[in-house]
Amino acid sequence: MKAKTFHENIFTLQQGKKRFLATRNLSPGLEVYGERLVQVEQTEYRVWEPKRSKLAAMLLKKLPSPFTNTSKVLYLGSATGTTVSHVSDIVQQGVVYAVEFSPRTMRDMLPICEERPNIIPLLADASKPGSYANVVEPVDVVFQDVAQPDQASIALSNVQHFLKPGGYLLMSIKARSVDSTAKPDTVFKQQLKTLLEQDNSKLELVKKQKLAPLHIDHLGVVARKTE
């Protein structure tokens, strides 16, 4: 098997005709959620399943990756930490602030945080950035994957408080969570409008891409903070 660099610290593994997305394991020997561990030339990689991770799907759908080895990341909606663990692999020298609202899923994520020194768990409500503002530092990337009807405004308020100028917002808009009866395209338009067209938004769209068929009715969005 061969490993190729896909983006900084994100790799693709080639096995015959099959190609997998993978990250370098920050805690070698340990898997997080039952994913495959692959050894290539003394480095251990963790296979990253795009059907289970919106972020992996976004990268495979050719959205740019803003992550570097030392990025500081604010991750909203970390759930049980499967994608967070890959982000923690990517920003090996950086920090991931993982915000999750549900105590039940946070309970499953805590063991992962204990294995990985760069994940900071925050059991808090992403729609109230003030409740974790005394912990989180200015970040390079805000990633958001929450199932809330006011997704875009939650993202915006976090971007305004925490994202450095020139930093990137990555989000996956879940049409079905915003409005289960409206047409997905209408929802995407309306959410993007909230995100980009408000006076104080300071965000410019870099790229957007639907995540079907990996994730149905999801839109991946990358935006940059201008000032």
Partner: protein, 317 residues
Amino acid sequence: MNVKTWFADIEINEDGNVAECSPCTQDVQQLAERLLVFQTDPQQIPPAGFDPVQNAIECGFAAGETEYYSLLQQTCIAATRLKIKNSYSPDLRIIHAVEALDDIDEAANLLAERLGIWYGEHFPEAGMLTENLAKFVAENGLRQDLPQDSQFHETARSSVGMEMDAEDGTIIKAFAADLTSLYERRHVIEAYIHKNMEQLAPNLEEVAGANLGARLISMAGGLQSLSRMPSSTIQVMGANQALFKHLRGKATSPKHGIIFNHPLIKNSHPKIRGKMARALASSLSIASRVDAFSGQLNPAIKEKLDRKVRSIREGNK
């Protein structure tokens, strides 16, 4: 400006520099408790763009970035642990109990059906079902083992059923005993729900009955969230398919969801079920609110519902 971070209270000048800083000690438990206070009651939030890492190092709280992040992680993990531990509400016990009840029902029905077919092969004349049959088989076993004074003694001797030997008898008797114990467990859990509902949600228990009340709490995900629901949601909760079909514009709106199981609706004429459902749902939502926020039994809720029910019935005559 005075700001509070997880590691210190900091006084910032008008030009943005630190004027004064009093760092906390590096005690993770204390820091975690401090953090939780801010999370529940955000105040003196640092302004956007404030860099806690540099400040912590300048302040003398941490020697360098490595130490800062290590302490931050330990503190956040400790705080999260505390918060998770305090997040369990007492209604969780009822939710699990009522869900266990559903699981038992499902399993018991399956096993009872099997026993009915199996034992029916051997002694079709017994003519019993479910719980009675299970008890009967668990006590007596095969038809040739019935005692002389049993009312089935004669029918058993002339039965047209299949012959079974002692080995079959042992197995089927044990199977029936398992089923019986499942039914017994069901009664115990039911009593448990009843008792707990009286304590936790007395008004809901009075209006809905223990079982339906517990089911409503379970579907809403807790008494708190049930109390925050509008009564129209309570009215159609459990009729999801019909509701979404309606919202897509392809059907009329559902009149009742899980609350259909309430005798007021179930035993009413179909013509007035819609009215009943509305009246019941509004009483239920008020009852759940009283339960969630005061917890005292208020008989006026049930009385008001009774009056409303009478007027609906009279109006229909």
